[in-house]
Point group: C2
């Protein structure tokens, strides 16, 4: 593996190679190039379309899976379907992520359609980082679709971040929660240059005592544009808390369009959103410690997105 590829893997998945001994799949430039399973976590290539099935046996506890994707050739358009079947009472961590290195003038695009089936009382922590780099003029585009079905008592934490370098993203997330299911989504996003980022999240609280918590933090720099559209629908006795905070810089434009709907008398739904520039008191304070304006801004932005 080239160093550039190892660096991409480091950035998006905190690894530098194939992770022998644990379940693993690496997709590169539209093809699966390495894949291995463990006794209780099987990763199988799909036969009918591009992508993999990830099957976690019931009661599998403590395993960590890595399924990174990298695009290093310019002009690749990759569409992949990954299905996750998490068995009852399992408790696993899944590290996904997509890195694009584009030195060419053609657009590189990865559209990952991920569907989670999380069985009764199973727990999943899913981490997904998106990142673009390279000196080419070709676009770096990521359009992730995430669909989550949660059975009775299931728990999922989705940590989804777009670090930098992604020119255009259209993210769609849909979750359907059964009784006592709990979903936590932590979204972090930074855009710069002329980048655009859209994120639509729809959570259907169908089961009694289902809970969702969404925390979205973003920073928009330069001439970038961000649009957030989270929707929480309480169809049963349920609770939802959505919080969107954005820092606006330079000539960026940021919109937040949360939608909360209570279709049941025992649905409790709260939303908070704020868009504003960097706190000037913090800026001044850091500058008195000897930091330049740019350094002080970086400290604040990094802390905000941490």
């Amino acid at each position: 593996m080239e160093n550039m590829e190892k660096d991409l893997l480091q950035t998006i998945a905190d690894i530098r190679g194939f992770m022998p001994g644990s379940a693993f799949s690496l997709r590169k430039n539209g093809e699966g190039i390495e894949r291995h399973s463990t006794e209780h976590v099987r990763i199988n290539a799909k036969l009918d379309k591009p992508g993999i099935d990830i099957i976690v046996d019931a009661n599998t506890v403590g395993e960590s899976l890595h399924i990174p994707v990298i695009l290093t050739d310019s002009g690749i358009k990759d569409v992949v379907y990954n299905d996750f079947y998490i068995g009852e009472n399992a408790d696993v961590e899944i590290i996904a992520g997509c890195g694009i290195h584009n030195d060419g003038c053609d657009t590189s695009q990865h559209d990952g359609i991920h569907t989670f089936h999380i069985a009764k009382n199973a727990k999943v922590r899913y981490v997904e980082k998106h990142y673009g780099e390279g000196n080419g003029s070709g676009g770096r585009i990521l359009n992730p679709v995430t669909i989550i079905h949660m059975e009775d008592g299931a728990y999922a934490q989705m940590d989804m971040s777009q670090i930098k370098g992604v020119d255009s993203t259209m993210r769609k997330t849909e979750a359907n929660l059964g009784p006592h299911a709990k979903l936590v989504i932590n979204e972090k996003l930074m855009t710069h240059g002329k980048q655009t980022a859209h994120s639509d999240v729809t959570v259907n609280l169908n089961g009694e005592d289902s809970v969702v918590q969404i925390v979205s933090r973003s920073v928009g720099k330069d001439d970038s544009i961000q649009v957030f559209h989270p929707i929480a629908i309480g169809n049963n006795k349920s609770r939802a808390h959505i919080q969107c905070d954005s820092i606006i810089m330079d000539h960026a434009k940021i919109s937040s369009i949360p939608e909360i709907a209570a279709n049941h008398v025992d649905a409790e739904i709260v939303h908070e959103a704020a868009i504003g520039k960097i706190n000037s008191d913090q800026l001044v304070k850091l500058q008195t410690f000897g930091l330049s304006v740019e350094e002080a801004e970086k400290v604040i932005v990094d802390g905000f997105l941490k």
Copy 2:
């Protein structure tokens, strides 16, 4: 004037007659039936379409105008255009409101299109109450449109409430704020039975240091449906604070879809929304004072909408 008409006026405008000595217009069943002006506040019937022009001279301070509308015949469909011209440095109060008494089986509908031109440093407090009653099966429909243009340093407070008895309402409000303009909107809404209420509010913060504050409180009972869609757009150095709180009861459905957009680095926009049922601690506490569940609910709902 019949007692029923006086009671309607009392409910929507806190008056029981024609208010001699102050600027006044009463519209009944689609026709202007009484209108008088003062030296500095002129109310003129429009010549080209139904409605009135309300012209407040510059520097007019302390005057109070009443422009109520009542519908007492079943089957009336009234569309009216009212234009308000508030002169520089004026400071006035405008009491509007529409009451429908429908004892028949035909729909009674009033669509009021109100346009405000608020000049430099002028101040307006506008109060509008909507109310329906009567024993007929005919619908009581109110579709108000309010357009507000605010010049440099203008101030407007809009207190808009729908008390009860309105079967269907589609409210649209649009405001365009100049520099240093401040708009305060207080919206109160109660729906019951099979009523539906939609409220769209769009505020364009175009001027430097313009400010908007929207506080919306609603109670949805029985099988009623409410949809709130406030939009604040910061196109300049500006501040917006939107707060929507709703109490859901019985089988009501309530949606809140606030949209906040910052198109300028110095736009500060905050939104908060919450939908939930009546606080059960408060209910229990009031019941320990000897109130029935229904009485305790009424105390809490009335306090919330006060």
